[in-house]
C-alpha cells in the first residue's frame, strides 16, 4: 500500500490535569492520511482524555494541535466538526426514538431540510463503504453493532476526514469486528485518517499501520505495527516495575473460605458477562482481581454478595463458626451479609452505592444497623461511637460525625465506606477499586487496613487497577478477561508483563452467541 507522508493530525506536548490528577502529560501523537493508528494503553492511561481533547469535549491545559499542518484551537465538538474530525464515542450519542436518517442529519447546517434526499445520499455513502444497515429502523430496535454503524455513517456523512473510534470493538462479536475492520480498511484506502483506541493486542496487530502507546498519562512511543509483536507492546504498555512500599505478611493458617465453581452470568442485554468462573478465596490472604475494566469484576463481586442473578455454578462458603458449608446461591443478600461476607463496593461514583451523600457519618453507619434496634425509635448511641471510632482510627478529616459525607473529600469518603464494612468484623471482605481517585497517603491507609484484616484471618478480595499495587499487595492474583479467568498467579513471583498479557488475552475459540 502506498503511503503519503501527509500528516492529517498532530498533537504536540498535550497536558491535561483534572484537579491534581494528571490525565495527560506531554503527549505527542500524529496520524497520516490513509493510515490507521492504534492508541494503546491500560485503563486510566489517558487514551480517552486525549481523544476527547481532539474532539472538543475537553480543552488541553498545555500543548497544541495541528490539523493539516496548521495550528488549531478546538473549543467545542462543533469546532472539531468544522475541522473534519469525527469521534465515535464508546457510549453512543444517538436519539433512541429517531430512525437512522434522522439521527444522521441531526444538527446539519447549510442544507435544505429534505429527508428524502438525505436518505438517498446516506444510502450512497453506505454502499460506498459497504455498510449494511436499514436506515428507516428506529434506533431502539437496532443492535449494538448497528448503532455503531449509524455513528460511523453519521461521522462520514458529515464529511469527517479524521475518524476517532473509542474502543469500537468492546461491544462487538468477532464476526462484527471483522466486518468493522473491513470497513475501516476501505476508509483508509479512501484517504481518511483513522485513530482507533483499544487495549486488545491482537486487534492492534491486525488492523493498524502504526501504534502509539500511552502509560499513566504519559506518551511512551510510537512504532510501526510491522515491527511490533505482543511482547514488545505489552512491555511498552505496562512499563518498568515500580517498587512500592506495601507491607505484606505471609498468610497464616490459611483455610478455604469461599469456593466458587463454574459461575455463569448474563447481563440484561443477554451478553455473557461471567463465563465459567472458578476460584478459591482463602482466609488470611488477599486475593487480587486484575483485568481491564468491564471484564466481569463487578458482576463477580455482586454475585458473591447475592446481588446478581446467576445462570449457573455455585458459591460454597465454609462457615468458620459452624464448620458447615453453605451455598450462597440459595441465600438472600441479607443472609449472606449475616454470614460475614461483606462487600465494600467503591464504584466510579463513590456516593452512588453504599453511602447517602446528604447524611452524616453517624447516619451512614446506621444504614447498616437499623435492623438491630428493638424500639421504633432510632438508637443513635452505638453508631455514633462507631463513627467516632472510624474518624479517629482512620484519620478521617471531617468537622464532626454529623457533617454530610458529600462534603468530605473522596479519600475520606472511601475511608468511611471501608471502615464501616470492616467494623462489622467480616469473614470475607470484598473491596472494588477502594483507592480510585485517592492520593498516595490515603491509598496506603487503605492498603494497610486490608493487610490488617488479612492478618486477622479475613479472606480479602481486592479488585484493583494498578498492576504494581496488585503485585505488591496481593498474595494471589486472579486475572479476568472478557468474563473468563485467564489465570491465577502468585503475587510474589509474577511479573507485570505476565499480568498484562493475561489481561489482554482474547477469548478462546469458544465464543458466546
Amino acid at each position: 500500500m502506498e503511503k503519503e507522508n501527509n500528516i492529517a493530525l498532530e498533537c504536540k506536548n498535550i497536558t491535561k490535569t483534572f484537579g491534581n490528577v494528571v490525565a495527560n502529560k506531554n503527549v505527542n501523537l500524529s496520524v497520516k492520511k490513509g493510515e490507521i493508528l492504534s492508541v494503546l494503553g491500560e485503563n486510566g492511561s489517558g487514551k480517552t482524555t486525549l481523544m476527547n481533547m481532539i474532539s472538543g469535549i475537553y480543552f488541553p491545559d498545555e500543548g497544541s494541535v495541528f490539523v493539516d499542518g496548521k495550528e488549531v484551537l478546538i473549543r467545542s465538538p462543533k469546532d472539531a466538526f468544522d475541522l473534519k474530525i469525527g469521534m465515535i464515542h464508546q457510549h453512543f450519542k444517538l436519539v433512541d426514538v429517531f430512525n437512522g436518517v434522522e439521527n444522521i442529519v441531526l444538527g446539519m447546517k447549510n442544507k435544505k431540510f429534505n429527508i428524502k434526499n438525505a436518505t438517498k445520499e446516506i444510502q450512497e455513502t453506505c454502499n460506498k463503504y459497504g455498510f449494511e444497515i436499514d436506515l428507516s429502523k428506529k434506533v431502539y430496535d437496532l443492535s449494538v453493532s448497528e448503532k455503531q454503524t449509524i455513528e460511523i455513517v453519521k461521522v462520514i456523512y458529515k464529511g469527517a476526514d479524521i475518524l476517532i473510534l473509542d474502543e469500537p470493538t468492546a461491544v462487538l462479536t468477532p464476526q462484527e469486528i471483522s466486518k468493522l475492520f473491513n470497513v475501516l480498511r476501505k476508509m483508509r484506502d479512501d484517504g481518511k485518517a483513522i485513530i482507533i483506541i483499544t487495549h486488545k493486542l491482537n486487534e492492534v496487530l491486525e488492523i493498524s499501520d502504526r501504534v502509539s502507546v500511552l502509560r499513566k498519562g504519559e506518551y511512551v512511543g510510537t512504532i510501526n505495527t510491522s515491527e511490533a509483536n505482543e511482547q514488545i507492546l505489552t512491555e511498552m504498555m505496562v512499563g518498568e516495575k515500580i517498587t512500592l512500599d506495601i507491607e505484606r505478611s505471609e498468610p497464616k493458617n490459611s483455610v478455604d473460605r469461599l469456593v466458587v465453581k463454574g459461575l455463569d452470568c448474563y447481563n440484561s442485554d443477554g451478553v455473557k458477562v461471567l463465563d465459567d468462573i472458578s476460584f478459591t478465596a482463602k482466609s488470611g490472604e488477599i486475593l487480587g482481581i486484575a483485568g481491564i475494566s468491564g471484564s466481569g469484576q463487578r458482576e463477580l463481586l455482586e454475585a458473591i454478595a447475592g446481588l446478581q442473578k446467576l445462570s449457573g455454578g455455585e458459591i460454597i462458603y465454609h462457615n468458620p463458626k459452624t464448620e458447615k458449608e453453605d451455598n450462597l446461591r440459595n441465600k438472600t443478600p441479607i443472609e449472606i451479609r449475616n454470614l460475614g461476607v461483606r462487600l465494600s463496593f467503591v464504584p466510579e461514583d463513590r456516593l452512588g452505592m453504599g453511602l447517602v451523600g446528604n447524611m452524616g457519618i453517624t447516619d451512614n453507619m446506621m444504614l447498616r444497623s437499623y435492623k438491630k434496634g428493638k424500639s421504633a425509635f432510632l438508637q443513635r448511641k452505638e453508631p455514633k461511637n462507631l463513627a467516632n471510632k472510624i474518624i479517629k482510627d482512620l484519620k478521617v478529616v471531617t468537622p464532626d460525625a454529623n457533617t454530610p459525607v458529600r462534603r468530605l473529600s473522596g479519600g475520606n469518603v472511601q475511608k468511611v465506606l471501608v471502615g464501616r464494612e470492616i467494623a462489622a468484623s467480616p469473614t470475607v471482605l470484598m473491596a472494588a477499586y477502594p483507592v480510585r481517585g485517592l492520593d498516595i497517603n490515603s491509598s496506603y491507609t487503605i492498603y494497610n487496613l486490608l493487610t490488617e484484616q488479612k492478618e486477622k484471618g479475613v479472606a480479602v478480595i481486592f479488585v484493583g487497577e494498578d498492576l504494581d499495587v496488585l503485585i505488591e499487595l496481593c498474595d494471589r492474583i486472579l486475572v479476568l478477561s472478557g468474563g473468563r479467568v485467564t489465570g491465577i498467579v502468585d503475587g510474589r513471583s509474577t511479573k507485570k508483563e505476565d499480568l498484562g498479557l493475561l489481561m489482554t488475552k482474547s477469548k478462546s475459540g469458544k465464543e458466546n452467541e
Binding site: 426514538v97 434522522e102 444538527g107
Partner: protein, 316 residues
Amino acid sequence: MLTFLVNAIRLGMTFLLGSTGETITEKSGHLNLGTPGVMCVGASCGCFAEYIYFDAVGVIGINPVLAILIPVAATFLGSALMGILFCFLTVTLRVNQNVTGLALTTFGVGVSDYIIDKTDIIYSLGSDYFTASLPFAQNLGWFGELFLSHGILIYVALAIALLTSFVLNKTKVGLHLRAVGENPATADAAGINVSLYRYSATCIGCGISGLGGLLFIMDYLNGNWEYCVDAIGWLAIALVIFTVWKPNLAIIGSIIFGALYIMSTYIEGFSTETKEIFKMLPYIVTVIVLLFTSIRDKKKNQPPQSLGLNYFREER
C-alpha cells in the same frame, strides 16, 4: 344535545391551547408543572389589557380588531414572561423542574388574583368581540352551529395545534427540538444550542398555554372571571399525557375532555356530589391511558426521554 357539543368544543379548545403549549415545552425536555399558573397569568393579563384599552378609548372608540389583538398580545407576553422565569430557574440556575413548576403555579394563581382585583371581573363587552362569529353561521343548521358558530380564538387554537404537529414532525426545527428533549447530550454534540432551544420552546409554549386561559374567560365563560383557571391548567397537563405528546391527537382528546368535564350539567337528575364525580372523569381516563401505555411499553408513545432533567454539559 347540540349546545352540549358546541360547549364541549369551546371548552375543549381551552384545553387544546393549554396542552399544545405544554407539549411544545415538554418536547424540549421541560416538565413545566407551572402551566396552571401560566394560564392564570395569561388570562388575567389579557383581561387587564382589555380593561386598560376600553378605559382609554371609551365604549364608542373601540376598534373590534384591536379589542382582540391587544388582550391576545398581552396574554402571550405575560405568559411568555412566566416561561422566561421558568427557564431562568431551570436552565440557567439548574433548579429542579418539579419544584420550579409547582412554585410557578402558586405564584401565577396569586398574581392573577392580584391583577384581577385591580379591575372589573366582568368583561362581557370584550367577550362579545371574542365570541363574534360568522354572520351566516346561524343559517346553516346544525352544521353551522357546530363548526362555524365559534369565536376567532377557537379556530386559532385548531390552527396552532395543527401547525405545531407539522413543525414537530416535518421540519428541521422540530427534529432538533425533539432531539433536545430526548437526549440533550447528543443534541449538544451535534452542535445544537440546547439552552436556546429550551428557552424558546418554553416561552412559546407558555405563551400558547396562556392563550388557553384567555379563551376560557373571554369565550367559554363569556367574560365572567372565575377563580378556577388553574383547574383548567391541570387538565391541560393531563391532556398532554392522555394524547401521548401528540398535538394532532390532542384536538380530538381535548373535545373528549371538554365533553366529560361538562357532561354532568347536561344530564338531568344528578345531585351536586355526583356531578363532582363526573368532573373527575378526565383524570381517571388519563390514569387509564397511562396504565395502558406503560403496559404496552411502546417506545413510540413514551414521554421525551430526558423530560424533567436539566442539562449540564460538563456533568458526566
